[in-house]
């Protein structure tokens, strides 16, 4: 996971970012030039495009006034309200009221279910709203000719575009705030359930709770240092625990079960780099078991295969007082024979220094499938330095230059353990759930802004329905944009469009190199393909990848949405806002507003 500035520099900012921005600007300019060329001929066409750019910089940007933008935004807002966007709110509230009918309360993780439900619902409603508002507003104004009264005032095209974007964004923001607060209340109240105490062991130190909300817990009490038993915890069921407190009333001990804990988390994970060794113990291993997607790889039990995570920038200060190293993992077991299902597949963990000289003793575990396994490794533990056994300290001995390695092995012969890089991480602490949910809604907000920007941009030169189709197309391409990019950058096998076309009749597999018996032809095809792909890549990079903005899974799965991610998305949103505004300006400036 990249931090914001790393990402800005390597991914978006200085190198690729500038290239992408330049490519988009060039494409835009070329596109405009082609349009102008068709209309006015080469010299005149070039002159006109250049003139528009000059006018933007020399006149219209300096002449843009906040008061006019504000007026137009306010009008857009009022128009939206008049179009009864509040119906959307009503739909949402009705949805929440009836959610109980179709959300299964016996689900394994009720919080995840509820959060996914409200966030998906909210984004669909808000995005659809943004789509409709932004695509139909300007065309309607042109059709009703109300734009004529506006365009004969000293209103700059920039202001028409910005006013609309801001106005609709304000409407959407208002709705999102209300929906967000309702969602939060819905989730927090939805997960609340109570247990009573069913029985208590004769020593008063353990017991079971009553069966409520499709589950019950067992619990154990803990003796405090002064020998008095005041509290205890239950086991983990359905991703949560309860705290049990004991009070003495009239000489009688009363046990109370607290509210569920751990359901609404916002973990701050530290991810590492994952490498695997093959059966000979060399790096670069890892197996596919056939049906898994490519990012999950397997290691075989009772072999030299192991998974090695390397974590960087680690120190005790990142884990509270550093008394323990909290690890969380969710590994997958793949069984080749159905043997001992009860105990499950066994594995072991070893902590290692990066130079390999210090290592801990093996820590065994049993795979908890589909559940998060949380374990806290104490700071001081048994291990070996250069093969000599002694007590070692995680921070003083194992961690070197802030780096630590964690090795995972599967013990059971014939069984496999599956994992992706994010399946084992160090848990550096927690953020608050409410703040995380806010950030999740911020993600929805950014998607909404993107759609509004695209919709307004398209509506400056297309009719309402066509603008909507165009925006939707961008959205769909944006969701699948990464796939197209993979093909384009050669990461997906099979080559570019022409090569693939040739492969169809030849029936050559995508993994085999193309062989036509003519190297010149092959090279030519590859070159042309690269050219086509360059254009496609430029186009695709011009489309925001909406999927990436959807951070609601972070919230639902209880992971903190880290600041770098938000900052990255904000930067991208801002870039697209600028880009779409410019294109919208260009079209408004060059079109006849009274021709309809």
């Amino acid at each position: 996971m990249w931090g914001y500035f790393e990402w800005l520099i390597f991914r978006f900012g200085l190198l690729q970012g500038i290239a992408v921005a330049a490519a988009i600007a060039l494409l835009g300019f070329l596109g405009c030039y082609v349009v102008a060329l068709a209309r006015y001929g080469p010299g005149e066409g070039f002159y006109r495009v250049t003139k528009v750019i000059y006018e933007l910089i020399a006149r219209d940007l300096p002449g843009t006034s906040w008061r006019r933008i504000h007026a137009l935004a306010r009008l857009a807002f009022q128009e939206a309200i008049r179009r009864r966007v509040l119906v959307v709110m009503a739909v949402f509230i009705v949805g929440l009221l009836f959610a109980g009918w179709f959300l299964d309360p016996s689900s394994n993780n009720i919080a995840r279910l509820y959060i996914s439900f409200v966030m998906t619902g909210t984004s669909y409603l808000v995005l659809l709203l943004g789509l409709f508002l932004s695509c139909f507003s300007l065309p309607a104004d042109i059709k009703n000719r109300t734009i004529q009264t506006i365009a004969t005032k000293p209103v700059r095209p920039t202001e028409v575009v910005l006013g609309r974007i801001f106005g609709f964004t304000a409407v959407g923001t208002m709705l999102l705030v209300v929906m967000g607060v309702l969602s939060y209340i819905f989730v927090v109240r939805g997960i609340v359930h109570e247990h009573g105490v069913r029985d208590i062991a004769s020593d008063g130190m353990s017991g079971t709770t009553t069966y409520d909300s499709a589950h019950s817990h067992t619990f154990e009490m803990i003796e405090d240092e002064d020998g008095v038993v005041r509290r205890g915890t239950t086991d983990e069921q359905k991703s949560h625990r309860h705290v049990i407190t004991v009070t003495e009333v009239d000489g009688e001990k009363r046990y109370t079960v607290g509210p569920p804990e751990g359901l609404l988390a916002a973990r701050i994970p530290i991810y590492g780099k994952l490498q695997m060794t093959d059966r000979a113990g060399k790096l670069g291993g890892g197996l596919n078991v056939g049906y898994e997607s490519e990012y999950q790889k397997y290691i075989e039990g009772n072999s030299l295969m192991k998974a090695i995570w390397t974590f960087e920038d680690i120190g005790p200060e990142r884990f509270g007082d550093g008394a323990v190293l909290p690890i969380e993992m969710s590994l997958k077991a793949f069984r080749t024979f159905k043997g001992d299902i009860v105990t499950g597949v066994q594995g072991e963990i070893v902590l290692k220094s990066p130079d390999g000289r210090v290592e801990s003793d093996r820590i065994g575990f049993i795979v908890k499938e589909y559940q998060l396994d949380h374990r806290e490794i104490p700071r001081k533990l048994q291990g070996a330095v250069d093969g000599v056994p002694r007590e070692i300290d995680i921070w003083d001995d194992i961690v070197q230059d802030g780096k630590i390695q964690i090795e995972v092995r599967c013990i059971d012969p014939g069984q496999y353990l599956g994992m992706a890089p994010a399946d084992l991480y160090l848990r550096a602490g927690d953020s608050t759930f409410a703040w995380n949910m806010f950030k999740g809604f911020l993600g929805i907000w950014m998607q909404m802004v993107l759609i509004i920007c695209l919709g307004v941009m398209f509506s400056t030169f297309l009719s309402g329905p066509v603008a909507m189709v165009a925006t939707l197309t961008c959205l769909v391409l944006g969701f699948f944009g990464n796939l197209a990019l993979d093909v384009a950058t050669g990461e997906a096998p099979g080559g570019g469009p022409i090569e693939s076309l040739i492969r169809i009749p030849l029936q050559t597999g995508a993994m085999v190199d193309l062989d036509l018996g003519n190297p010149v032809l092959e090279t030519t095809i590859k070159m042309v393909d690269r050219g086509i792909m360059w254009v496609l890549v430029s186009l695709f990079q011009a489309i925001p990848s909406f999927g990436q903005f959807n951070t609601s899974d972070f919230v639902a799965y209880g992971f903190n949405i880290y600041g770098g991610l938000i900052a990255r998305h904000l930067t991208m949103t801002l870039s697209y806002f600028v880009l779409t505004s410019l294109i919208g300006y260009f079209f408004l400036k060059t079109r006849e507003l009274a021709a309809a």
């Binding site: 001929g41 080469p42 003139k51 007026a71 009022q78 506006i150 000293p154 209103v155």
Partner: protein
């Protein structure tokens, strides 16, 4: 190509004569359809100049190109030939709008706003501060006689009321140039008369007015100069009194003639070599007659305090 670029680049009129507010040169517009095929040649090679402080009328039947001319002058559509300049600036320069007030063919306003909100909104578009907007909106609402309806949404307004608020909107920036597209359509005779009085009053305050109409009476009553358009072509241009003067006919207005006297005069004219066309009692125009009757019914009813319909 190069010559065309040279003329394009020339966005300001070389005629810096500040007495000319609007100038069109060889202005023409051909409407095309989606495929670029020629549909209508709505305006052909129009050359007019509107001078400071005059009421200039564009007169012509429906479809003669009046609205097209007005839209070209405002930069709402782009000419297919020639140029239009306003205050010496190219018609497509939005800064010229600071000094223009425009009343479109129908008042294209937002129906969900009320009169106050409408004027406030358009005031904001002129970047006017709040107090100025409030003060002017108040003044204008009274002036166009919408005081009683200032808080009602425009969708409840009658056609005449919509025209009035449209006019108020056009005056919010105290423009030097007022462009009115068919200002009296949809108004009853009283409203129409008030509108015309107002136009003359605004001219007297020093504003320049360009209006178009297909109603001869409108133009005749208020315009100083007219251009008569037909099928997109300029047919006649000049002062209204000059254009309407029938040079070879003499009119005599007198009272208390007997039939005998009329005969005598007819004979006298014939003897002197003249031609008697008719000797008759004059008729008045329908509009004048109607106004006379209506205004007699309501003594003391001053045009500006007339209630909206």
């Amino acid at each position: 190509m190069t010559t065309e670029i040279a003329t394009e680049a020339n966005t300001t009129s070389p005629e810096t004569d500040s007495d000319i507010v609007i100038e069109t040169r060889n202005l023409g517009k051909v409407y095309r359809d989606f495929w670029g095929r020629k549909k209508v040649a709505a305006l052909k090679a129009l050359d007019i100049q509107v001078r400071r402080g005059e009421i200039f009328g564009l007169l012509g039947p429906n479809g003669s190109g009046k609205s097209t001319t007005i839209k070209l002058i405002q930069g709402l559509i782009f000419p297919t030939s020639g140029h239009a300049y306003v205050f010496g600036k190219d018609a497509r320069d939005v800064t010229k709008n600071e000094r223009i007030g425009y009343l479109p063919e129908e008042s294209y306003l937002y129906k969900f706003l009320n009169a106050e909100e409408t004027l406030d909104f358009y005031g904001r578009l002129f970047d006017m501060p709040a107090e100025v907007r409030r003060e002017r909106a108040d003044k204008l609402i009274r002036m166009v006689g919408l005081h009683g309806a200032r808080r009602r949404q425009l969708k409840e307004y009658s056609k005449g009321m919509t025209r009035r608020i449209g006019l108020a909107q056009a005056l919010i920036n105290e423009p030097d140039l007022l462009i009115l597209d068919e200002p009296t359509t949809g108004m009853d005779p009283i409203g129409s008369r008030e509108m015309k009085d107002l136009i003359v009053r605004l001219r007297d305050e020093g504003k320049t007015i360009l209006m178009c109409s297909h109603q001869l009476a409108d133009v005749q009553d208020v315009c100083d100069r007219v251009a008569i358009l037909h099928l997109g072509e300029l047919r006649e241009l000049g002062r209204v009194d000059e254009l309407l003067k029938v040079r070879d006919v003499t009119e005599v207005h007198a009272k208390g003639f007997s039939e005998e006297l009329k005969q005598k005069i007819a004979e006298f004219i014939k003897n002197e070599g003249g031609d008697v066309i008719s000797i008759d009692n004059p008729t008045t125009t329908m509009e004048e007659l109607f106004l006379e009757i209506v205004q007699e019914d309501r003594p003391g009813a001053r045009p500006s305090s007339a209630k909206p319909n």
